[in-house]
């Protein structure tokens, strides 16, 4: 199995187009970092302007606010919405791309089962997701920390602000990246399922993005009837639950508690739902693929 996985990874990472995703991510991160490096204070003022009625901020606070941790948070907020497209480019191509190329026959006339092949493709997609996130971590977290230094992280919420001490932040990022890996793996599993249904990679890639866009819109809409009936079951609602690691508990005096998470059960619930979706998508992909006639 490891040898087969190695082959699959070799195929993914030997293709020049795989690196388009890495290049696009680098471009976005560097543009954000560049803008904040030269005009960061204006960005901070804009952020705080919404809260200025109820809070007063010292100049020192404002100076410390703009640090590597905050910039990484801003980048994650921006990029984790776009990353499903990058994942779909590889996972959507996994079966349909091989079918279009004719190489699916090459694989399926060998003594490996179809379920095994799906398993290998899925594992390779997970490795790709992890490599994308590692790249993002290097660019957004390490890069921003090196460029802007570290300080306490302040996260703005509609209900107020969350402040975390600088030595209480790094583990939260680790947890957030791990959660993002599960969230993006859900997209990879969906894309793989759609890839099994098609003989051309364009269809599954576009379909994945369409599903993600439609579900995200539904997740964001403020229609009461959807809040309890639809939203809790959409995987896109739970893909952003990584933010939960940056919402902290406060004691009676309003001081944030180190190492705390405001609603850990909600984060775990989201994780469970995403894992459920992965099992569902993957199971459906195996079920369909085992019965599919290979005509290409």
């Amino acid at each position: 199995m490891l040898a087969l996985l190695w082959i699959e990874l070799n195929k993914i990472y030997r293709r020049p187009r795989t690196y388009i995703a890495f290049g696009a991510m680098a471009a976005i991160v560097w543009l954000i970092q560049l803008a904040l490096y030269f005009d960061g204070q204006a960005y901070v003022d804009l952020l705080l302007s919404n809260l200025s009625g109820s809070f007063e901020f010292s100049d020192l606070f404002k100076t410390h606010l703009l640090n590597g941790y905050l910039i990484c948070f801003v980048i994650l907020n921006t990029l984790l919405i776009q990353m499903p497209l990058l994942v779909a480019l590889v996972a959507g191509d996994a079966i349909a791309g091989e079918a279009a190329q004719g190489t699916l026959r090459f694989q399926l006339t060998r003594p490996i089962t179809r379920a095994q092949l799906i398993g290998i493709k899925f594992t390779a997609a997970v490795v790709y997701v992890i490599s994308l996130l590692l790249w993002l971590a290097i660019l957004a977290l390490l890069g921003s920390v090196l460029l802007f230094g570290i300080n306490d992280l302040v996260v703005l919420r509609s209900t107020g602000i969350e402040q975390m001490q600088m030595d209480d932040v790094f583990w939260r990022y680790l947890a957030a990246f791990c959660f993002a890996a599960v969230a993006l793996t859900t997209v990879a599993a969906l894309s793989l399922l759609l890839s099994v249904l098609a003989d051309n990679p364009i269809g599954p890639i576009i379909s994945t993005m369409s599903v993600v866009i439609v579900f995200t819109i539904l997740s964001e809409m403020n229609i009461p009837i959807y809040d309890t009936t639809v939203k809790p079951w959409l995987f896109t609602t739970h893909m952003v639950a990584w933010k939960g690691f940056f919402y902290v508990q406060a004691d009676a005096e309003g001081t944030t508690i180190r190492g705390s998470i405001e609603n850990l059960p909600a984060v775990f619930r989201s994780l469970g739902i995403l894992l459920g979706y992965i099992v569902l998508f993957l199971g459906a992909a195996i079920y369909i693929f085992r019965r599919k006639d290979i005509l290409t």
């Binding site: 004719g102 090459f106 399926l108 003594p111």
Partner: protein, 311 residues
């Protein structure tokens, strides 16, 4: 002789279209078994079912005495195939593609062994070139190398000479002969080219519109002492009288009121021409026709013949 492949009442439907209908055949160990049929006859669909790419709608397939779909992995370990056209990863080299095929077969390939395989198909000097730079013939040969990489005892080649120039066709033909004669492999080779099948196959299955039209040994089918003469005559009635009185004629097949095909011993064509001339039948043209082609057309012609076959 050991039966390697045993197919019984195989059918495949795609919606309302029946691509293969009630086909049965058996392939013996060591044979080169030819699948002959026009485009769309059901050859590729049948071969895809033999490689488990397509599930049959009904019927059974046994390979090495085992049910194909129950013992798929076990069977495919001993089967190598190139279905329709050999498709490889263009950005990888020939060596990498071959190595990938070996790993997919569960092998831990040694470089030396893979290079020997490439040398066998004449690609040793291009082992490191990306496959996208290969000609169709080279891709075909690499396809055969990937089919052979795990030393299978049964090899299935679907239209292996498609898209090749005459030199490439001769290369592949030579390769198939070497596999059969030198290595004792069993091969199933499909083609729509009569001459190719005649040159390489021991036994033959003719498919037409999804149905089996004939199965048998080529030597039984093609009597080397017989030929088919295609004649253009001016008087069908008179000619028929001559034919009915001529004892060495095996069969007469009228294609039109003026054209007929006569199966007869090779050395009796002058006698026939002489008899026809003597009776006053004017012979406007005489041509010796390829016997397999004649046989194939007889079996696969959908339009009713202009005349009945007389035996």
């Amino acid at each position: 002789m050991e039966t390697l492949v045993h197919v019984e009442h195989l059918s495949k439907r795609f919606g309302s279209f029946e691509a293969v209908r009630d086909v049965s055949f058996a392939v013996q160990r060591g044979q080169v078994y030819g699948f002959l049929g026009q485009n769309g006859a059901g050859k590729s669909t049948t071969l895809r079912m033999l490689m488990t790419l397509i599930r049959p709608s009904s019927g059974s397939i046994e390979v090495f005495g085992l049910d194909l779909f129950r013992h798929r992995r076990e069977i495919l370990r001993q089967v190598g195939a190139v279905i329709e056209k050999p498709d490889h990863y263009g950005y990888l080299s020939a060596y990498e593609n071959l190595r990938m095929a070996a790993v997919l077969c569960g092998l831990r390939p040694e470089r030396k062994k893979l290079m020997e395989q490439l040398a066998f198909v004449g690609l040793a000097d291009r082992s490191q070139s990306p496959v996208k730079t290969f000609s169709q013939g080279m891709k075909q040969r690499l396809g055969i190398a990937t089919a052979l990489v795990h030393d299978p005892s049964l090899i299935i080649l679907d239209e292996p000479t498609n898209g090749l120039d005459p030199l490439g066709i001769a290369d592949i033909r030579d390769l198939i002969r070497r596999l059969s004669r030198e290595q004792g492999k069993t091969l199933i080779v499909s083609s729509h080219l009569l001459s190719e099948i005649e040159l390489i196959a021991d036994s033959l299955l003719i498919l037409h519109q999804g149905e089996k039209r004939m199965e048998g040994k080529l030597q039984d089918l093609l009597n080397p002492a017989e030929t088919v003469a295609e004649l253009e005559l001016n008087d069908r009635q008179l000619a028929d009288t001559v034919f009915s009185q001529t004892d060495f004629i095996c069969s007469v097949d009228w294609r039109s009121d003026r054209q007929c095909c006569i199966r007869l011993p090779k050395n009796r064509i002058p006698d026939l021409v002489h008899r026809l001339s003597e009776t006053g039948v004017a012979i406007q043209a005489v041509a010796s026709r390829h016997s397999l082609e004649y046989y194939f057309l007889q079996l696969t012609q959908t339009e009713p013949h202009a005349g009945a076959v007389v035996d």
